[in-house]
């Protein structure tokens, strides 16, 4: 049962609700209480829904809850306006996933918990 854990992360998964360090400008998802620069002065910041791929892989041996989705691409995405996230690349032929490609963030079902558990929604990206 992953409900309480997923529930807690919903603002981040649904809305990219993170924060930004007022001292050094770094953007974080999930939000941090302390910036690696040492500052504790951070402000709420919603990350952008556009960005580009910094690096990626194609998962061919997935964990059990993703086994019927294989193969799928996972990327590190640098978002316009700051912050980096890791997410799947959806709706895109695998051969089109490349470093530097522009992506848009989309709201998708990440996985369902077994046959009878909840559907976990969150962000993915797709090449524009």
């Amino acid at each position: 049962m992953i409900v309480p854990r997923h529930y807690k992360e919903m603002p981040q998964r649904y809305k990219l609700q993170g924060n930004r360090c007022k001292a050094c400008g770094k953007v974080f998802l999930p939000p941090r209480l302390v910036c690696p620069c040492g500052s504790q002065d951070l402000e709420d910041y919603n990350l952008s829904w556009r960005g580009k791929i910094l690096t990626f892989t194609i998962i061919r041996t997935p964990p059990v809850q993703f086994k019927y989705q294989k193969p799928y691409a996972v990327a590190v995405v640098e978002l316009d306006g700051g912050g980096t996230i890791q997410c799947q690349v959806t709706d895109t032929p695998l051969e089109e996933v490349e470093i530097g490609k522009e992506v848009e963030i989309v709201f998708r079902k990440i996985f369902s918990e077994g046959e009878a558990g909840i559907h976990c929604y969150g962000y993915k990206c797709r090449v524009v």
Binding site: T90, F107, K109, Y121
Partner: protein, 354 residues
Amino acid sequence: MAVGIIGYGAYVPRYRIKAEEIAAQWGDDPEVIKRGLLLYEKTVPNQDEDTVTIAYQAAKYALVRAGIDPKEIGAIYIGSESHPYAVKPSGTIVAEALGMTPEIHIADYEFACKAGAEAMFVCYSHVKSGNMKYAMAIGADTSQGAPADALEYSAAAGGSAFIFGSDEEKIIAEVLYTYSFTTDTPDFWRREHQMYPQHGGRFTGEPAYFKHVVSAGRNIMEMAGLTAKDIQWAVFHMPNGKFPLRAGQKLGFKKEQIEPGWVVPWQGNTYSGASPNGLTATLDSAAKPGDLILMVSFGSGAGSDSFIFRVTERINEVRDMVPKLWDLIHGRKFYLTYGQYAKFRGKIHLNPDV
């Protein structure tokens, strides 16, 4: 007080399956399907898509066109026959993700293919009554037709969202008239715990679809004192390509008046999102300021909600703000084999995890 649509958006997935592919699987003649039902291909949801994600994307586009604060929306109603949960609302997920919670009224609707239009009906009524400033209605589905059933050629995925409001300068399509025509007609149903719907074959035609659609269309036009010549565009529920054309013909509409919203041959029947997608496709393409649009939904069981809209100048400002439905339908798409489609739609009996 004028009340109308102040924001709208549509979404269909990128995946498709062709009529030929389904026909080859079951030994049908694809030409019979294509000629007889006017169905060429249909949308298929990606494995990570469902009614909630489709509703979300359509709603997001509608919010862009409306240019309003999501918190101002007083209600969100999602009509669908494929809500991802049997118990647990779809609307809460979409509202939460779009920042509309917590001061919002939410309900999921179900009335076969009419659920989206009935959500529109209620949203319109809320605003008209002064009950709320804005209300969002969504019709979205990821419908399933049983393997080898004729429905398998049509049951598709997609949907549209509409925000109703009364700000004169924001109205894109003013609602002039509404009308509902409903009887108890068991032409199509799905019992609890069944994966696929059953239908009455030819019984779904005259006593169900045509009786309700034509009555709802005729009666609203009479109420408005209008004929098919006075109305520029017409949208009828699209279970296949043929039915809406014939319904239009019975009401005196020419094919050209229906074509801007006649998405079904390339999109399939998006059920609760079928007539809503017809309306967005019409707004996205042919509708000009001053034009009247007749929309008649149909839900098996059975009933039709009909609307007459008048398009405003605002359409020209908002049309290009987000992707248009026809562009999504004819844009980037990936064709699936029947096997891939069966996997995507959960039609394969899998070994349970231990």
